[in-house]
């Protein structure tokens, strides 16, 4: 096995262009598990560990740009205020060791329907910055996932960053599992209020072949919420929202849970997170937590 360790993004992109079968490794918390269990024997590894650009975050065009390899621990510590939904999701990833290594770029690279950052990225309308020696392109995160553990990356491309607008409203993330961390969630849900756009963003995890938004639920709630003079939401509205989120799912039965349970739990998570977020909105910013 070859091991490439580029010092700059340009070198990394050149290496990836030349060795399309080289597997990028950021935190390695997915890659090393696959190697260890012999699920994968790549011809080469492309270590992103030395590339400064991928380990930085900053502002660009009013958005937060997070380098693909920035670990969850730093997102929690450094970006919790601007990106509360993503930080909440990040807090539930694995264990401290995993959060010190694992990254959003890696989560996107793996594109597992169970990845915890996806619901938060979807709810916040994140964009994925993708680069190759051919250039750079931006892909809305909802178009990024193409199938179970598949994404839009071409063989010569790397994820370089995600771009997310700083929160303008309340955000929530909630998941159900045997325990809160160190186990793959049975299902997860992310929600973001966008008062500036008068809409609500959603994201479903472990509920379909790919992470996805609940579009009909978003459309429904956009018409129900009164952004000008906000009032408490009727229970029937919350429930309808939950039901539409559940409808957006196409879950499966597996060892972790039945499809019926996943649908039901998503409805509960959706109803609750919307309730919490809307009360935060009404109450001027006090956050509830799952």
């Amino acid at each position: 096995m070859d091991f490439f360790r580029p010092d700059s993004l340009a070198e990394a992109l050149a290496a990836k262009a030349e060795h399309a079968d080289a597997v990028p490794i950021a935190g390695g918390t997915d890659v090393m598990v696959e190697l260890n269990f012999d699920h994968r024997r790549p011809a080469a590894l492309l270590d992103l560990g030395r590339i400064v650009e991928l380990h930085e975050h900053g502002r660009q065009d009013g958005k937060v740009r997070i380098g693909a390899a920035v670990p969850y621990a730093r997102i929690i510590d450094e970006l919790g205020r601007e990106l509360p939904g993503l930080a909440m999701a990040a807090r539930t990833v694995g264990s401290p060791q995993i959060r010190n290594r694992g990254s959003v770029g890696g989560n996107l690279g793996a594109a597992s329907p169970a990845g915890d950052s996806h619901p938060a990225l979807l709810a916040a309308n994140a964009e994925v910055e993708i680069a190759s020696i051919r250039g750079t392109r931006m892909v809305p995160v909802k178009d990024f996932y193409t199938g179970v553990k598949r994404n839009v990356l071409a063989p010569d491309e790397l994820i370089t960053a995600v771009h997310i607008a700083p929160a303008t409203g309340a955000q929530q993330f909630s998941k159900v599992g045997t325990r809160n961390a160190m186990v793959i969630a049975v299902c997860a849900f992310g929600l973001a209020l966008h008062p500036d756009q008068k809409r609500v963003g959603t994201g479903l995890g472990s509920a379909a072949p790919t992470p996805r938004p609940a579009t009909k639920a978003e459309e429904f709630i956009a018409t129900e919420l009164d952004w000008e003079s906000p009032k408490p939401l009727a229970d029937s509205v919350l429930r309808r929202f939950g039901a539409l989120v559940a409808e957006a799912a196409s879950p499966i039965d597996d060892v972790r849970g039945s499809a019926a349970y996943r649908r039901h739990a998503l409805a509960v998570l959706a109803r609750r997170t919307l309730g919490w977020a809307w009360s935060e909105h009404l109450g001027g910013g006090r956050r509830a937590c799952a």
Partner: protein, 755 residues
Amino acid sequence: MSILGTRVHRVEDPAFLTKGGTYTDDLTDERLAGALHLTLVRSPIAHATITSIDTSAAKQAPGVVAVLTAADCDLEPVLVFDRANKKMVRPYLATDRVRFVGEPVAAVLTEHPYQGEDAAELVDVDYDPLPAVVDVEAALNGEVLLFPEAGTNVATAKGSADPGAGFFADCEVVVTKQILNQRVAPAPLETRAAAAAWDDGRYTVFCSNQNAQGTRDDLAERLGVDVADVHVILPDVGGGFGAKIGADPEYVLVAWLARRLGRPVRWSESRSENMTGLVHGRAQHQTITIGGDRDGTVKAYQLKIVGEAGAYPAFGAALPNLTGMMARGTYDIARKHSSYVSVVTNTTPTGAYRGAGRPEATQAIERAMDLFARAIGMDPADVRRKNFIAPEQFPYEITDEISYDTGEYAKALDLALRSAGYEQLRAEQARRRERGDTKLLGIGLSSYVEITAGGGASENGSVEVHPDGTVTVLTGSSPHGQGHATAWAMLAHEQLGIPMEKITVRHGDTDQIPEGAGTMGSRSLQTGGIAVHKAAGELVELAKQRAADLLEADVADLVVDKDVAAITVAGVPSARKITFAELAAQEQLRVHTEWDAGKATFPFGAHVAVVEVDAETGKAAVQRIWAVDDAGPVLNPLLFDGQRHGGIAQGIAQAMLEEVTYDEDGQPLAASFADYGIPSAAELPSFDLVGMETPTDANPLGYKGIGEAGTIGSCPAVQNAVIDAVAHLGVDHIDMPLTPVRVWTAIQQAAGGAK
């Protein structure tokens, strides 16, 4: 002031916390110089005949010294549990058939371990799959047999499943339920490891294990050599939980290979190997039937067990017998009936795991008590009180030979309930139900009694004082994390006055300590500890006899001056003092002694668990647990509570998280820590440990065992609590682990049933 009963810090810890332990895989012993590394090719299929094995490619791989299969191995297949069906013998490397995923098929020996990983993949095994027997019903109907020559899948059985006509006839209410005490993985932090050398006609075997001498005897028998020709040494051992007792097949193979290849051989398993290669625990399918009157009197209790022995009957096949023996728990029930069948299935063999047989008994009777209470509409605490064995009934006979020694069961439960504020908890539960709160409160009780030192209550110990004033204690009971070095030193210090830091405890080397039974079944303090206590006492007597002449005094007038670790004359402050060290300088000062209590002891207690259940998602969280664990007087609260902490964590984990499952083809579905939930601090509340001490009469210090009590008490309390939380919705039972999906499904089914 006596050191006994005080919170002495573990003498083991400074080394563990600084340089770390030395486990089998860390050894740099010169006897292992030039060792080959063993990698096992394990079956990926649960049930198949092996049609051919081609090792030629593997033999060509870099670093490969040898590749061996059953055809090369002259070890006799072994009947691991000697009372199982005689045909159910286990080969060291699979011969014509594999019977579980993870069964060793070929041995690859290489210069470096990583070479073995690569070469093992080149061993080409042709499997012809057979239908897998996974569930016990399929095993019992016997359509597919694991051992056709046995003619049955039953490994061992006892008792009729029919308690006889009239067993429940006079009961106003009878409740019956099928419950599962699920299969769990012991998951010790240190996976198994062994290293062996064969030199000059003698085996030296280092391994991760709970009992050096028993393992030596197993090795000698299975290798077909004299006990004198096997030397077993146990370095630090990183946990065992009962699953590292005796010589595992891999250990025998490592020793045999060392001789066969003429070079030392080392083996250390990966976590994945450990999850299928090490025995599993529990795996009992139980039918409980409880009958009694509406006033709360339980009159009859029947426990029917189908135990999973796994592919090759080992100790797990025997454990339902112990479960049956302990079935009545803490209750004086007029009629008790138990029976069991242990069957083989295409799964990992089962063995002992913390509690081994007793948690299964406690879970069953404590679930039965709750079911009965529910059926007659009585508070579960009141039903328990109504049926407890009363203090004046001790010794309380449970078999012709065995009696509960001492117990205060009602007192323990009352103490636990008082500590928890039971009435207030019930009131809070009612308030939440009335409000229609989605966060439901559940309160679960358990009362337990268990047997410790049940496998034999004798042990040896020696105490020697050296001329430099240091002491060596030898014990037959080697620890694997319990803290014997601290406890035994306290016991020796108590009588000799020699400072603890001068006392060294040695264990786990069969040349130094030829006899001993090891650490299992919560036996050590009351056997090995008492042996050291006795040896130290005898050493004092010996020292007095030798000092009498020198002090020109009568032996009866001599005492130990503990401040200076010397013998002197009682009541004469000016009298000369002769230290133990001085006596040792004149003549070896050493006592070796045997202690045999002749009987087991029966620790008991009561736990109260409080859980919160999210009625909408089914997610349950343990909020508090109050544990009264009475194992007699406490030698060292730090060690005692440490055992309770670990035990309670594992009990909660079985209730909430852990389960080894297989698909219908016998493929394990939870064979790594990504899928198998071992407990972490995040799922556990702080434990409220409540003290109570009722001594046994089995030994002079009144000690019982505490190693397994926490697991035995906590698991049923937590299961009962989760079910209690949703009981008003019509749920009367949910099998463990109580995952959100299961709890939610139970609520749905109860609601559906009620319609």
